[in-house]
């Protein structure tokens, strides 16, 4: 009897186990189907990057910028600049002139950003104390730009991205302060590029409606948190979505950088000779 009972129990248990397995398979299958469906709905990292780069930023731009650099003890340094950017075909030229403070006034930086990935950019720096325009290497893209927490590469790309430097993966869709964003993970294509950029990983929250990163977390080549860039006060100027505040928190040094943009004007006539060494020396 005990054997029969046991046998019945065993059969019942076996039936239940079989049912559980079937249930698990069903749930797993449903999850997979659902997640595949979600994944299919999400654009790929590559598509998002292309959308970011396709965003209109006008043929030319002029703007003023205030840089507020704050060290970990709260001491601030403030710089005022005026900058111009213009497309010459696919080639982007940018010039930044420092207006204040006195010790760096008239310092100016000019860059030619070529569309060909294999071609290094050309960069010049005018140092008023030397009264010379100095040609500088553009390959050390990971160097920090004149005491800020932005690298030369960050400054050059502004809110755009380099397609060939990273492989991108869309992680999820997420609400960020009321804005729907795609969370994209970008990993440098190899160690050499990672060393060059100074980043081992970047996670960006890309606003799906305006294709602009609202937040970007940067990790160093060892995978430790490096800095976070917040893009704020985004509003349309001349029909073009424009960030008016860029804030960087450097998690390693405790240093902070804030860029505040004003007098932003798109597609106003910007003279070609603004992007020459002659104007770099002379100032604006």
């Amino acid at each position: 009897m005990q054997v029969r009972i046991y046998s019945h129990l065993h059969k019942t248990k076996k039936r239940k186990t079989t049912m559980n397995i079937q249930k698990h398979i069903l749930i797993t299958t449903l999850i997979l189907i659902t997640s595949n469906a979600i994944a299919e709905d999400l654009p790929t990292g590559e598509q998002i990057a292309k959308n970011i780069n396709a965003r209109n930023e006008g043929i030319s731009l002029s703007r003023k910028m205030q840089m507020v650099l704050t060290d970990k003890r709260g001491k601030q340094r403030i710089r005022e600049t005026v900058s111009y950017r213009k497309y010459f075909g696919d080639e982007k030229r940018t010039v930044i002139h420092y207006l204040t403070p006195r010790n760096i006034k008239k310092t100016a930086f000019l860059t030619f950003d070529y569309p060909e990935a294999e071609k290094d950019d050309d960069q010049w720096l005018y140092l008023p104390a030397m009264r010379k325009v100095r040609r500088i290497s553009a390959s050390d893209r990971g160097d920090y730009f004149l005491g800020t927490d932005f690298t030369y590469e960050d400054i050059k790309k502004e809110s755009k991205v380099t397609l060939e430097d990273y492989t991108r993966k869309t992680l999820r869709e997420e609400d960020l302060n009321g804005n729907t964003t795609y969370v994209v993970e970008a990993i440098p294509v190899n160690d050499e590029v990672a060393e060059e950029l100074g980043y081992g990983k970047v996670i960006q929250w890309i606003d799906k409606n305006i294709w602009m990163a609202r937040k970007s977390e940067f990790y160093d080549v060892r995978g430790k948190p490096l800095k976070t860039i917040y893009t704020e006060n985004i509003k349309k100027v001349d029909g073009i979505w424009t960030a008016h505040r860029l804030k960087v928190d450097n998690h390693k040094t405790g240093h902070k950088t804030l860029f505040i943009f004003s007098d932003v004007i798109y597609d106003k006539e910007v003279r070609d000779d603004f992007f020459t060494q002659r104007t770099l020396r002379r100032g604006l």
Partner: protein, 441 residues
């Protein structure tokens, strides 16, 4: 110690500022009282105040205790013109660099910068800087130099501004710079008895101790236009290369020491007559980047260079030759926030005779390491200049801290070493430690 301007000094600056407004008004097509007021609104007055203390390492004595105040007034005139006025007031509590001349007030620069169509014209007292090298000069000879502190002063401070007509005219992808310099001002050398008086036989031809040496008055060009320097520079950027071609017809800023020897009953009398002589400078510069490396260089040829000789049979004591100079520099940006730079500098005389005080081929090399820390608030710099021929050189350290936007503090050392007959070794006794504060607002 931070030096702040007194009320009297500020008042003096205001007078200077208003004086330059007068120039600005004259430059403006509509000069009237209303314009003057608007010019005042369009003026920016900046100030640079630097105090530096240098202590000689040999006896811990103060070599220099200097205060320099440099107001700069820039007045905008209309949309594309401005007048810049820079005054320099310098006073040194010690008397080692310019004995008998404790304090100087100098109009450093005073020029009108205006655009005429696409061209730029800069008229007035100014500095014109040519060349790509650091610390050594091949083409950067448009303006003469003050050697009161040898080459330790920043070139921006030691270059002597000249009254110049300077025009930059774009022609397609080339910019043509034209220069006319009707200003007969030449190098200023450290005065006898000062810390950096030249004694090296490479510069001052040696004379027998028993000889009666008589220095005649210097023959200096004095015709404003006939003796003016003139030149041009063509510059372009093509296929990744920055290129210039430079030409300058000018007086060499170092006088030629013509010598005659007369035999008298009391012994030989050596007459030295310094005279400035003209030469043509033809040269060019180039620079490009290759990955982390920046290559830059400049070369120049002086057609008429006069080198002193100790050969007593030579009739005038100098040998005329051509001089070829070049500098090749490599800047490497491979490490974060670091610049490693090296240069080789060579001078070759295409005519050489026994007795000439300068060797036919002279070679100098430089090494520079610059590093930035703490978001570029702390800068460290080490510079070495080494002369291969004379096995002497100079070593400079400098550490600068940007306390805030207005105040920089620095400490450093200038060390000379090697053969005392060499350009650097002659100052072996002037090794020093320096510290200073720069206030800018």
């Amino acid at each position: 110690m931070i030096f702040l301007p007194s009320a009297r000094y500020v008042a003096a600056c205001e007078v200077l500022a208003r004086s330059s407004l007068v120039l600005a008004s004259l430059a403006s097509p509509v000069a009237n009282a209303e314009t003057s007021n608007s010019l005042l609104d369009d003026s920016t007055l900046n100030m640079r105040i630097e105090s530096e203390w240098a202590v000689l390492t040999k006896d811990a004595s103060t070599q220099k205790l200097q205060l320099m105040i440099e107001p700069e007034l820039e007045t905008e005139i209309g949309e594309d013109a401005s007048v810049t006025t820079i005054i320099r007031l310098r006073t040194d509590a010690k008397d080692n660099l310019s004995p008998g001349d404790h304090s100087q007030v100098e109009l450093r620069e005073f020029y009108l910068d205006t655009a005429i169509k696409d061209s730029i014209v800069i008229l007035g007292k100014q500095q014109v800087v040519w060349g790509k090298s650091d610390g050594l000069k091949v083409l950067d000879i448009v303006n003469p130099q003050n050697f009161r502190e040898f080459i330790l002063d920043d070139f921006d401070q030691s270059r002597i501004p000249l009254w110049t007509v300077n025009a930059e005219i774009p022609i397609n992808d080339v910019t043509l710079q034209l220069l006319l310099i009707p200003d007969q001002t030449y190098h200023e050398f450290a005065t006898p008895g000062s810390s950096y008086q030249f004694t090296s036989p490479v510069i001052i031809p040696p004379t027998p101790a028993s000889a009666n040496v008589q220095i005649k008055p210097t023959i200096t060009p004095d015709k404003v236009l006939q003796d003016a320097d003139a030149g041009f520079r063509l510059s372009t950027f093509t296929h990744g290369w920055d290129l210039t071609f430079n030409y300058l017809y000018h007086y060499d800023d170092t006088p030629v020491l013509f010598r005659t020897i007369n035999i008298s009953a009391s012994g030989p009398i050596i007459n030295i007559t310094p005279q400035y002589k003209r030469t043509h400078l033809i040269g060019g510069t180039f620079s490009n980047t290759f990955g982390d490396l920046t290559l830059r260089g400049e070369l120049g040829y002086l057609t008429d260079k006069y080198i002193s000789t100790i050969n007593t049979l030579d009739t005038d004591g100098v040998v005329k030759t051509g001089e070829f100079k070049y500098v090749l520099g490599f800047d490497w940006y491979g490490f974060t926030d670091t610049l490693l730079s090296t240069q080789i500098f060579q001078t070759y005389l295409n005519k050489h005779e026994t007795g000439m005080i300068q060797q036919q081929l002279n070679t100098q090399i430089t090494f520079l390491i610059k590093q930035d820390y703490m978001n570029e608030t702390l800068h460290a710099e080490i510079l070495v200049l080494h002369d291969i021929n004379y096995e002497d050189g100079m070593l400079r350290f400098k550490l600068t801290y940007e306390y805030n936007d207005e105040i920089n503090i620095y400490v450093g050392a200038d060390i000379f070493y090697g053969n005392e007959d060499g350009l650097f070794g002659q100052f072996n006794e002037t090794d020093r430690v320096v510290s200073g504060v720069v206030v800018g607002f």
